[in-house]
Symmetry: D3
Subunit: 341 residues, 6 copies
């Protein structure tokens, strides 16, 4: 039985040079569409949930293409508002080896950034919904978006809907001070937080290293400490942390940690050879929400979220195109990549 889930944020056109070309080399762009909350919606649609993505896009073929992309992958677009000037764009250059991926944002003045809070009818949108998700990017986009976000979480709270938030700090959009101020207010209505160490520090000044610890195993303790601090400061039902080790643009270590207020659950760790890293965190959030809303045991929750996002790193584009079965195959231990005939 599919659950109604709503995510809210901006969707952008993503333009990437093919073939590991640098921007200055390319004569074509591969096009896809993405944004943190749209990516989470796509994960949930893939898993069979009844998920709506809420945003505003321009009334032209470019905006329509973003909607079509969402529909193609099963995300409901009924509540998307149309109008405004432009669709946000981000240019994305694939990194390789020691050369990092590059993202150039061209998202200012977008239909979403300039949308009015009153354009989103939250009472109707959230009717019968079970979960609402947003990330720290949405309120960072503009004052209006922050207000719309606040309206949404308040309405959700009133309706008894679970609210999750991925901190997702973006330094190009706002300062840590501003982020802290706006997010602290939103946190009042949030049940589940997803974060990594950078976002926790930038948004809430909670640092992973506050005791003199050393090396490996202790490192996990640091992350546990981080999760616990976040959980306690905002009185949360759950905190999920992603642990990324960046060896190069091609090679990352990846693991997850979940704290449910009483116990810690840490996932298997994956050594990933990366195809496309963008949306990795969002696919973790998508897996986490799916597992939680379907009442997986918490150890399975963190295994599912981490395995789902491990697989995302092998998929081109912002969306995670994997099924529940594929994720479960990995959580059960088959990471050998043998041909499935």
């Amino acid at each position: 039985m599919a659950n109604k889930i709503v995510t809210f944020g901006e969707i952008m056109m993503r333009l990437s040079p093919p073939n590991y070309f640098r921007f200055v080399q390319t004569d074509s762009f591969d096009v896809t569409y993405g944004g943190a909350e749209a990516n989470v919606a796509a994960s949930l649609a893939n898993y069979g949930e009844n998920v709506y993505f809420v945003t505003k896009v321009p009334s032209n073929p470019i905006g329509q293409s973003a909607i079509n992309h969402l529909r193609r992958y099963g995300v409901k677009t009924d509540y998307i508002v149309r109008g405004g000037e432009r669709l946000g764009i981000y240019f994305h250059e694939f990194g390789a080896s020691q050369r990092p991926s590059l993202v150039i944002y061209d998202r200012k003045y977008s239909s979403f950034a300039e949308s009015k809070p009153t354009e989103y009818k939250w009472e109707k949108i959230l009717d019968e919904a079970k979960w609402f998700h947003f990330t720290g990017i949405t309120p960072a986009v503009s004052e209006n978006a922050a207000q719309a976000c606040l309206d949404a979480v308040k309405t959700a709270k009133n309706k008894g809907i679970i609210v999750s938030c991925d901190l997702n700090y973006r330094k190009k959009l706002w300062s840590p001070q501003k982020a802290n101020e706006v997010m602290a207010e939103l946190m009042k209505y949030v049940d589940i937080v997803i974060a990594n160490e950078e976002a926790a520090e930038k948004v809430f000044n909670i640092k992973v290293k506050d005791s003199d610890v050393t090396q490996e195993n202790l490192q996990l303790d640091d992350y546990k400490n981080l999760a616990k601090q976040i959980s306690e400061r905002f009185d949360l039902k759950g905190v999920a942390i992603t642990l990324r080790e960046s060896f190069s643009a091609f090679d990352n270590g990846w693991a997850g940690l979940y704290y449910d207020g009483s116990k810690f659950y840490s996932s298997k760790k994956y050594q990933i050879h990366i195809v496309d890293r963008v949306g990795g965190g969002d696919s973790f959030a998508g897996g986490l929400i799916y597992a939680l809303i379907n009442n997986y045991p918490h150890q399975e929750v963190i295994e599912f979220a981490t395995a789902a996002s491990c697989l995302k790193h092998s998929i081109i584009g912002d969306f995670n195109h994997v099924t529940v079965e594929e994720v479960k195959t990995l959580t059960k231990g088959d990471s050998t990549g043998r041909i499935q005939r």
Copy 2:
């Protein structure tokens, strides 16, 4: 001996779906760069002139790519200002048969639109220049751009540089009233005007049909009348008119007319099967300027400009990649398309 020529305006990234795809169908964009004045510069560089294109682009790899595109085709970029927020973009969908080409502009807030007039050092830029060219799009982009344009033509006039202007009315950028007001002021410093009937009517309310004429040959007289009116109103050295017959997105008739204040010169008429129509008018301007600055007889001037722009319709992208020799082969009558081995 190459002549120093300067053109001024905006260069945008152009994103076109491949294969006659509609926007909603495409998963990739072919990228090129163009803008009315940049296109004219590219023509002139191809013909061996020493041509500088002046604009402002952002200091990032996207802006750099626009500069690289200009450099690749021999346009000098020394005076291009760097900074600002974004490079203007236009999405371009190839039309076919009865389906028209579609252009969606996303050019607001561009580095050029928001550039300050003082950022362009016209004294230095125009030093030793022989010709300055702009189009009606440049002053339409923003107040600042209009002022920069006025500064440029005044400086040019002071230096005895020939100034040409292609009227090029864009209804998305300004109203006829505003266009008239701004362009009339600029016209004081202009020597040569290029126009088609639509631009002449929209910008200066000069209509091609003001006598009760009929059919074919008389039609040419209408255009002559149009050229003469423009010439006299602004006391010009020359007026060039492009005559386009639009049968479909694939088939156009194309001819040119030049009036030097005393005589009319009309070109051969071409039936064109179109590959890419964008930049067709600009390639006419490029051919015209080349022929005039090299003192071609006026009949050859209009033949050269028309043949050059006829060939542009067979070339993908905004720029006209033809040599003087190729244009001359066509003006001499070889339009058979036989393989050149």
Copy 3:
């Protein structure tokens, strides 16, 4: 206010070599999905109708891709049955000049062809629907499909839903005798028939030329006669005829005729330079249904249907990606293909 419309038939994967390559030359295929009734659904979705396509596809990523293609373009897929062995495929080679397009079907044993009539829950599917559409291909696919089709039209009749049928004879699927037998039974429940001369002759042995007529204008009379015969034999509310003149794989004449039982309405005739001819007839049906269900005057009905399908010939793939506004621009006479900025 969108109308619920249901179409029923097979959707296939279409594999086409790029670049006018012949099959033996290609090392890649462009993929799209289509089928006569799916194509009609796509047209109607584009025009804003609430359209459901009913079929059966396999439960694997290939079947899912067909569903995703429909969703991408706004067709509702809620009633699509999943299971069976395979998705039908058709290989399609673009023709050029005197070389005809080539279609190689590989559709036998498909999930749809082998689906059971009982798998389609027509009572539920047609609940609140206003229109049901199928073509002569659906009952030709298999006995089961013919029975499912009969179930559907009977249910539709019971519910007072308008039923339309495009004759669409396919010689690879059945003989004229078999077609006549099955289609005659189905015709009892049909209100609107769409046909061309070949289908009318093959399926019902009604010929366009049965009086000694000659040349041009009289030719139209022949088609009128054809429409009238079909209308009277099956006591129909309306008959629409498409008139195609095939000059080459690149050049066709195209017009439409509508007979409402009392009067004839014939459309403007278009000379088309073809990009992709597949789905041309389906886009005519889509335009016709849209115009009829929205109560356009009958002259406008035939103009809309013909203009819509004229535009389809300029679009790659089986689906017609045009808006109501774009069709109307053409019916109002703008076929010049001028750039829309």
Copy 4:
């Protein structure tokens, strides 16, 4: 029953920019392989003949790729000599509308051009062969190639093999004087000549217009006169003439004429919308040889050759990928390009 046929000449790598790009625009080349005699061989292989192409290519993966291309399309490569420095290359830019196609040869110093006459074992190669074909390009490539060609035709004559030659004058390779001298010697062993007016004039100084004729029908008489002159000068069994009308790079008229020493046979004339014009003449030769060796009546011979080459113009690459059945469909009058399902 397939006939053993041998053709002799150079095969080159052909590099063409995609998408009607000019050379200066492209960042990739589409690769194919071709050469006048290889193209004829490919036609004959397609028609089911047992055809061997004789040449020399370098012993590296580039030479191997040329061989693989021949094998892919059924041409026998057993007698191809391997060694030497390089495979000849020709760069080919597709023309469009008034812009002609461009060919830049980079064929000097090729393995073929520098091959020794003794490397070709004609006794063995021509054993049991029924037909030998070469063109005026082969002896023009180098002195050695001319000598090898002479060896071949002499051996063929001794064995009673029919020898055909397509004049095919290439001004970049030799002068009319040199061509005349070498070709006149070779003509002693030739039975069938294929020519167009340009080649006839350049190689043998036989002009199409040597009487004061005018207009249309008379024009055909001129070509008959041309055929007759060639036939008589070299005492030939047959002369075939191709008649091309070049309206643009996209549009050509195309017809053929055959003279068997007593009667003239002229083909239907085709109006072609060109996809790829290269190899058009070779596909005519291929069709002609096929029809002659299979003893078609002479009217059918010229119809087959002309229809085959008409279809070639719709196919990308130098080779003509059509079957006997496809050619016959066209000779029987179906040039409507209707989809073949």
Copy 5:
């Protein structure tokens, strides 16, 4: 001196999304052709052997394309039967990192599966042949194919031709019980078997682990034991085993083992970063047959086979495009990948 070798089985069209795309993401497929026995033939053709692949394909351009693919790479297609309904297809999705490659078969009802045993003229086909090869897939395809296979090996035995078989179990095609029954009968005529642990267990219930062994070196002993068991049960001349370690879709360990009835020969082990894993086993078989038929010492046999298949993993498509020299360079120890200039 090339040896006549015959392989027998099915060739399918393989359709793969480009760029690590998942099936649901792709709008195009890269096309190649392959099948276990065709792949072996391609290896042997590359090494200069005179190899014939026997199968049945439909008489249409799709079947022709499969034949052309074989011809392109030097495989003889003279004995291929034409007719039937369709060419088998398999959809192939490249895996990446922890995401496995995916193969979706659409091979039922293929021309090969439905071919009659009498269509293959083994007396003629195997005339003067020195080696016959098939895999466990061929008899699994259909009863008819199993019978044809039996006819072939009996004929081969009569003629004293060496017969090799790669077990190659496919669970989608038959059960272990059925496989055991059919293969046991065929084994009577087989001289050389190639297997991996999975196939050995599934087809003959011979397991790699039947003694209580541990770790690394001992592991090799297990494989030796496996080889010995197979060899003894069927009284074989030789048994070759491939040892694959699957770390991820990108990283595999790869080694080979050969047992000639008296001694074991184990190859160097390669750590491979995979480009395309499909056909890896077939390239091992191809290398093995080449080395055995050319009487390499047995240690060199296993080194050649293993190195050849190591290289295959770096090549896109089912076929192994390497030369004898390239394989030998690797067996001699140069695996550094330094540029060969």
Copy 6:
């Protein structure tokens, strides 16, 4: 303040199959342009220097495309001579895993190889230049090129310009004996030498191992010894050595060493996952020259050169498209490949 730098050598068209295809598989080539000295120029242009590349290319669109490629990336082309027969070509196949990259040269008879020494006006070219760079390939191309090179370095010496040379031995172009003879003469005018162990041994018979050293750390001493020997033999200001460890076509270790006549400076060592290895050494030279001409401390010089060339391995094509800032980010230790937003 940009420094005038001049490099001299050949630029070739590079044709590479896409997608790790082998030459025999490809139906298209990706095109780029490169050559050792052109690559160095491109690096320097990227870093903002005023760099001129001197060569000779043919006066046709192929030669023009090479020039355009240089211009696109900011290299000055004012002194390039035009004329001659052809542009040199090199075919390049990407290696993968154990399969090495393959380069097939087709550079004989190029415009550059056949250019006359007198065509290069060194007095003018080197006027106000601060640095002249060439590699051992330039004099190896032809006697003429060697003479031109000698003219250049003599002129440079006269003008007090620093001269650098990358030894770059190419066995296809000359023998060690010839190389030694010609290079020894040129060395008289050289200040800075760049080499790897292979070039040092082939050109000057200076071996890295001439003392009985063993393993790891000592290995660096060997390279120091090598640098010192070169430095002393030719009385140089500086010697830079690149240390490459080739594990496979995908994985290399990479480090650099600089000796300034008194001290050794060795860089950090990078483990690289290779995208394109061609031009790796040239990008080292480019980084070295930039750092030296801008008076970086010598430890920073070697770190900059090594980091720059490390990044090159992640970039497709011969040119290194990185900025000074990007190189410095890596020298400062960020090799994590984290997304730069």
